[in-house]
Amino acid sequence: MRSYLEKMKASRVLLLVLVCSLLLVSFSTSLLAQTDSDTDTPADSIPAIAAPAQVTDLKAFDTDNDHGHSITIEWTLSADDGAGAKSVISYEIMRWEPFVRDSVMAARDSLGWVQARINKFEKEIPLAEESLDEVLTGQPFLDSLSFLVAYDEKDTSFVLTSEYVDKTLRDTIAAMKRDLPVLKVRAPLLPARFDSLLILLPKEYGKYPDATIGRFDSVGTAVSGVTSHENSSAVDSRSPGFIPDFIDYYYRIDVQTSDPNIRTTSEIVGPVQSSGQWFNSGLVPVLIAILVFTILTMIFVQLAKKGMDLYVRPLAGIEAVDEAIGRATEMGRPILYVLGLGSAADIATIASFTILGRVAKKVAEYQTELNVPCYDPIVMAVAQEVVKSAFIDAGRPEAYKDDIVHFITNSQFAYVGAVNGIIMRDLPATNVYMGKFFAESLILAETGAVAGSIQIAGTDEIPQIPFFFVACDYTLIGEELFAASAYLGREPELLGSLKAQDYAKAVLLASAIIGILLINIFPEYGETFKSWFEVID
């Protein structure tokens, strides 16, 4: 037992020695490492970043195919960007700005500031009085005004004195206290006065490079590796960073490093002016396609008029319309026609109007009941006219009633609720869904399926086609919706346009096959071929 204890003690001592020595070694190692790092990186020995090489081949030009107010700047990368000293982190785009631009921008900000306060006057009198105080004591606004007046004494078009503002706002508060309506008649005067200030700018930009009246200001940044930048603004002269057209601009690019004090400036390019274009050359392929398609349509319409037999493949969904109307007549139940959620400007809705006309004509002939609940009031007005004309054409104008086509609501799910209610209460024999549909498509179609109606649907909304496909008896897929009117009418003009569509599809298919072959067999020709179809909007 004693020997065992002694053995234990000895092993404990051994363990203690081992742990201590490990700690000692670890401590001395870290100490040495610390000493090494201290000796390696003394504060005064950080290597200074060398000034990076400047950018070359700097070009500035008016941006193509735009509404104006945009200049594109292109350059070749600095030799130290991704190569050399690899010290470049970004490029700062600098534009020469006359000092007067600051005052123009300040005036713009003041304008926004004043307008924000005027808007407050729509609320409550305490808020309005608070705004009045803000305007009267508002240094930014009054400062910028006094600066402008001092700058050019001849230009008095933007003299918005504090007396004027004071009187305007006091009048408004007085009107509010008498509970009179507050009209913002004075607010529109402010932008007009601001616009007159912009006239000053061309003259001042023309004084480049007089350093006493201007300086280079940053107008954007591009990260390393990027070789172009678009300096653009919105059309509205009161938008931030507004770039007026037909003014001489000068640019340079500053190469930036991680040290903000170390940067290299490039040569200066200019003058360059921005302007809007009257033709977007990036849309030439679209123009050619439209022209070719129009010519094709005209040719086939003429051929159809001359009696050429044009075969149109049967559309099951459209052929089922007559059958469905007959079924409704036999069952003595109504037909429900839903035009969807589109507006009267949507082509799918326009196509739907034509189909509605045909359905309404048949309905009038068979003396069946028709119900057209509408989501959009304009669509309702047009649909009423379509149905009314169809009843007249069918020789049954007396059967037309205003409540056949009626407005429900233009809230999506409230509309769905109402139409579902109609389906479940009236149990229509046939439901026709033609037009633009969104999340409501399946809710409508499934409710119709539950009600046991024959359902025919057609939409150009691709995500909704599968829903209609599973829940409806017949579905017109995409273009079939647009072809339906021609198919129903069988008029030569309409059939001619269908044929033109078929030939256009054949041309597109042939182009796709040629493109695939060229890009795989002769890549160079393939790229050229591809470029013919590229659209830059």
Binding site: D66, H67, G68, H69, E122, P181, V235, Q277, W278, F279, N280, V286, I290, F293, T294, T297, A344, A345, T354, L356, G357, R358, P377, I378, M380, A381, V382, E385, V386, S389, A390, D402, D403, V405, F407, S411, F413, A414, G417, R425, L442, I443, E446, T447, F467, F469, V470, A471, I477, G478, E479, L481, A483, S485, E493, S497, L498, Q501, A504, K505
Partner: protein
């Protein structure tokens, strides 16, 4: 001329908008914005027509006392009440009973007017007179009751607690409920679509299973994810593009037919 004028207008403005598409200049954008503003203007006038249509249909249903005639009554009451709430402001801390009394009088007055104009000829004058009387009572309430007031020129009605409560606690939950139904309908539609009745339906079922099970953990997960990506990116995308090309051509063809006056279905002249 009655038929020619709309066609000429469609041709002129249709062509103008086609040309505008190719002109990026800001003047062209201004013209486009100006023309598109007309849609909004026409829409506002059409909304009045829509409301009138809704009232007409609802009143006819109520008067006919057909099955479920109570629903249009709720529709009309909701329509008038929400408009009323939107144009009135309640004074802070005021009691609401006089406000509700005013709304009730207003609703009954409107109903009397509607019945007077659209109901049977026998009681017409009586109903119109009752409506007029109630409207006078309502006007007196509006003038002398300080607990609420009309706000036609400001948006204060939109913060009216009744307006906000009706919208937040009735309208939005109802809409959400309708949307939520979609989940159940997707299930029933999937069941119908995925029944393996024939070869095509079986292929659809297999494709759907692959896509649905793509996130499954385990040894098959990775293969299913890859197969699913192929299904979505190759056959599915190819079919979608074919449909998109067809739709694109269909839209251009229909627009062309409308501009050239070949398609006149929207005018009720098929």
């Amino acid at each position: 001329m009655k038929r020619q004028l709309p066609l000429i207008l469609v041709f002129v403005f249709g062509t103008l908008m086609v040309i505008q598409y190719f002109v990026p200049h800001e003047n062209s954008e201004t013209v486009k914005g100006f023309l598109l503003d007309w849609i909004v203007i026409i829409g506002i006038f059409a909304l009045a027509l829509g409301l009138w249509s809704l009232v007409q249909v609802s009143v006819a249903k109520i008067n006919s006392r057909k099955e479920n005639w109570e629903y249009p009554l709720v529709t009309l009451a909701s329509l008038v009440m929400m408009m009323f709430f939107g144009f009135t402001a309640i004074t802070e801390g005021a009691s609401l009973w006089s406000y509700f009394l005013a709304i009730t009088v207003f609703l009954i007055a409107l109903w009397m007017f509607l019945q007077g104009f659209m109901g049977q000829a026998a009681n017409r004058n009586m109903k119109l007179l009752s409506g007029l009387g109630l409207l006078i009572v309502f006007s007196l309430l509006a003038i002398f009751d300080s607990s609420w007031e009309f706000k036609f020129y400001t948006a204060e009605g939109l913060t009216n607690q009744m307006f906000v409560h009706f919208f937040d606690y009735i309208m939005i939950p109802l809409q959400a409920t309708m949307f939520a139904l979609l989940a159940f309908f997707i299930t029933s539609a999937s069941y119908r679509a995925f029944r393996a009745r024939n070869l095509l339906a079986t292929l659809l079922l297999i494709a759907a299973l692959i896509v649905m099970l793509r996130f499954t953990p385990g040894p098959w997960g990775e293969y299913l994810a890859k197969t699913s990506a192929w299904v979505m990116n190759v056959p599915n995308l190819a079919a979608q593009r074919a449909i998109v090309i067809g739709i694109g051509l269909g839209i251009v063809a229909t627009a062309l037919k409308v501009i050239l006056g070949i398609e006149r279905g929207y005018m009720g002249k098929g």
